[in-house]
Symmetry: C2
Subunit: 484 residues, 2 copies
């Protein structure tokens, strides 16, 4: 499985290379013990959104703390206003200092009847290909992925007595519930989490053979917009025509947000958009992305966004405006002949590099206010915002991680974007100025949040090996924050 024998990486000095080889061999020889530990963690039903599972969330945090302690981490369970977090440190004299983030909580398992077996009784299912799948809730999201990093540390610690660089761990238990306690926890404990770089393992491979680093996440601006016309619901017979209808007004406003080309029609919306740098652009161009299949999978045939851009650009590098919800008047069975007083829509913007959520919010409000007809009032409720996160293609850490991935996977990794965001990435960037390198080994068919969630055993094994190499590469030279 390792490729070091065939193509020794010229950039790793010989002594280091031999050490790395030993660590990888240890990981290979002990993969079934690693799998045993993953099974132990998977057996704990740490469903964060259901209060009945609070003790199990506590148990998962304790389990992780014990395991991290057993491999030399100064680890502790920290109580929060919700489920606890686990914080652990193992400092070395040499840098950089990385913070690894993961989450031990899982999604609910409903509908239970669609599972082939107990979601919290993990099992290995051998595939015709010979590879096996680990099937359980959380197998991939995120217990399996999280443990790839822990087991990589275990291998380093066991073989060499220490880690190649300073490592802190930060595992939360509310990721699947919107992290309600995170802000308060970071207010108190944020300083302790300072690091040069955050690593995450909650993302996907590009395909079964090609690893990926997610270097762009779009930002998010969420707004509720409420239109009020008359001071009460009116009878559509008595007032139909004469009274302004807030659903009609809201529909016309929403229609005005989008031009015929599919672009967002708010004046100045694209003003501050920073295009990806040339290196990233060229990386993205190399990706063989099947846009037709991407759309066909969800029953669509044509991209609806700005026709000047490819589908991949539309979802990764171009900002968007989406109506996520709308409600007004009567929408139960049958029909009530009212002209409602109010109508409301939930609007969200996905932002890209260069765009400031506050500026976009102001432009959005201005766009709406300029189009408000007489006798209508608008109320905006801001539901939060975050900037896009982008890791420059010339980041030293990125280069080193990619070199490590190339050694393990025997091919160049790809740089990809994400149309969404992993909230912790923007939180850590905005609160602690820590950039992230999200590297994951999940496959697109892993059924996250769905019945029969799985993680391929090969993902787990090669994930551990990949992190072993990444830790080695990151220790390979002087780095500091300014290089990222």
């Amino acid at each position: 499985m390792s490729s070091t024998e065939q193509s020794p990486a010229a950039h790793v000095p010989e002594a280091k290379r031999l050490l790395l080889k030993s660590v990888l061999s240890y990981a290979d020889a002990n993969v079934s013990a690693s799998l045993d530990r993953l099974f132990q963690l998977l057996r704990i039903p740490s469903v964060s959104c259901d209060p009945r599972y609070a003790p199990q969330c506590q148990e998962a945090a304790s389990w992780l703390t014990y395991e991290l302690g057993s491999i030399g981490f100064d680890a502790s369970v920290r109580q929060t206003t919700g489920h606890p977090v686990v914080v652990a440190h193992q400092k070395q004299a040499i840098g950089p200092h990385v913070l690894f983030y993961g989450h031990y909580d899982v999604q609910p398992v409903e509908p239970l009847e669609k599972w082939d077996a107990d979601p919290f009784d993990p099992r290995l299912k051998v595939q015709p290909s010979g590879d096996s799948q680990i099937i359980a809730r959380g197998a991939s999201d995120d217990k399996g992925q999280l443990l790839t990093f822990v087991e990589a540390c275990r291998a380093w610690k066991t073989v060499t007595g220490g880690l190649p660089i300073s490592v802190s761990m930060f595992f939360e238990g509310e990721e699947e519930s919107g992290s309600p306690s995170m802000d308060k926890f970071l207010d108190q404990a944020g300083d302790e989490l300072h690091a040069d770089l955050m690593l995450l393992c909650d993302t996907y491979l590009w395909n079964d053979a090609v690893p990926a680093v997610t270097v762009m996440f779009r930002g998010l601006l969420e707004e509720e917009i409420e239109i009020t016309c008359a001071n009460r619901d009116l009878h559509s017979g008595a007032y139909g025509n004469a009274a302004r209808n807030p659903i009609q007004v809201l529909a016309e406003l929403i229609a005005s947000l989008r031009s015929k080309s599919g672009a967002v029609a708010i004046e100045g919306f694209y003003d501050d958009v920073t295009e990806p740098d040339e290196e990233l652009k060229s990386e993205l161009k190399k990706l063989r992305f099947d846009a037709d299949m991407f759309l066909q999978n969800v029953g669509l045939s044509q991209a609806a966004g700005d026709e000047a851009y490819s589908v991949l650009e539309q979802v990764w590098t171009r900002p968007s405006c989406q109506i996520n919800g709308i409600a007004g008047g009567y929408y139960g069975d049958g029909l009530k002949t009212i002209i409602p007083s109010k109508a409301v829509a939930k609007v969200s913007f996905r932002l890209v590099a260069g765009q400031d959520p506050e500026k976009i919010q102001a432009k959005f409000h201005e766009h709406i206010r300029a189009r408000m007809p007489v006798d209508c009032t608008v109320k905006f409720t801001g539901l939060g915002g975050s900037k896009a996160s982008v890791i420059p293609s010339n980041s030293q850490y990125l280069r080193r991680a990619r070199a490590a991935l190339k050694d393990e996977w025997n091919c160049e990794s790809v740089l990809i974007g994400s149309g969404g965001s992993i909230p912790i990435v923007s939180v850590m960037q905005s609160r602690l100025s820590i950039d992230s390198l999200p590297i994951g080994f999940a496959r697109s068919d892993n059924r996250h949040h769905s019945p029969n969630e799985k993680y391929d055993l090969s993902s787990f094994h090669k994930g551990i090996r990949s992190w072993i190499r990444i830790l080695a590469e990151l220790s390979g030279g002087e780095s500091n924050k300014s290089e990222l």
Copy 2:
């Protein structure tokens, strides 16, 4: 209160006029007995929408049947699939034959704490003006109004031994619940309800001093429209821009239904609209309608309909298209970053004379289908339709009723429209080809459906007197269906 002494109506022969005077005198002398009977009926809590009051609905029907029997009607309670109806006949050798429609059921009384006293313990409240108000649930809608006609018949019967024309009565007990049993009942018993004309007393005076006949009701076409794009809800991060958003599509479709002038923008929508005849137009022009106040009362200042028409025209003589409800995606607290698969709107059209619901439905579908973008499907669900009801200004019956009203109120009645419809009016027109003359004595401040509902004692008394005169006038000459 009567004005016959001052201005004897030249069109009523002397003998008839003396008879009429006696009947009116009887009504005047016995108004407190009439009021006692109204109080008896008001004490029965016949709330039709609440199954707990089913026995009280039955009781109200029985009470009416008994009272009608006591004044010579062949009256009976007829069971339906819901609350019973009352049918009664008292035929005369001379025509025309009128069918009087009313409803004995009432709205619920909630919120009870907003009533100054028990809603089913009617009481008289003397006003500073000297007039008294009858306060109770159903005082005006429709028990008080219904009894004005019954008491008019009682006066005729008691004084003369008979009625001046053939009268049938039809009282339902589900008007406030959408008349769910009506269709089935009419399937069975419709033939028995044939008449030359239907009279109703469920409408309003123009103002305290001026009676009105409602000669136009708009028709109604109700449609649900559902737009589907992707085959499931999508993550707005992963697909935002690329995936078509059905809320956006629906908003653009709704926006396309209305032109900048406020007119309906469906091609051919106005093609078949029949303008009111010159007589009615001139009647409408004479009305001193305070459009500003009409709008101000509901918090508006400008009419939103086709600016080429007055507010009164917009709500009475022009068709409209209203979105009564809309729903799509997530509209609870906060925001969910989804691009939903579906979005739905409830659309209703108010139709005027000349417009055919089926034709309008076809034009609406065509309008939507022609604007559907790629990757979207539309599903229409028809929720029913009815044509507008219009009584020609030259109707013989209308002329006679107005002459009677003029004698009683000492001023010309006005002809008004209604932007909505009274369902029974279009039902009887379409099923039995019976036109209606809705004449009511309610005032705009009667608080229908609200706490402290009231009916002015003067409305009740002059209502009885008005019907006494109308019955006399209708018997005054040969009439047949073709004159109406």
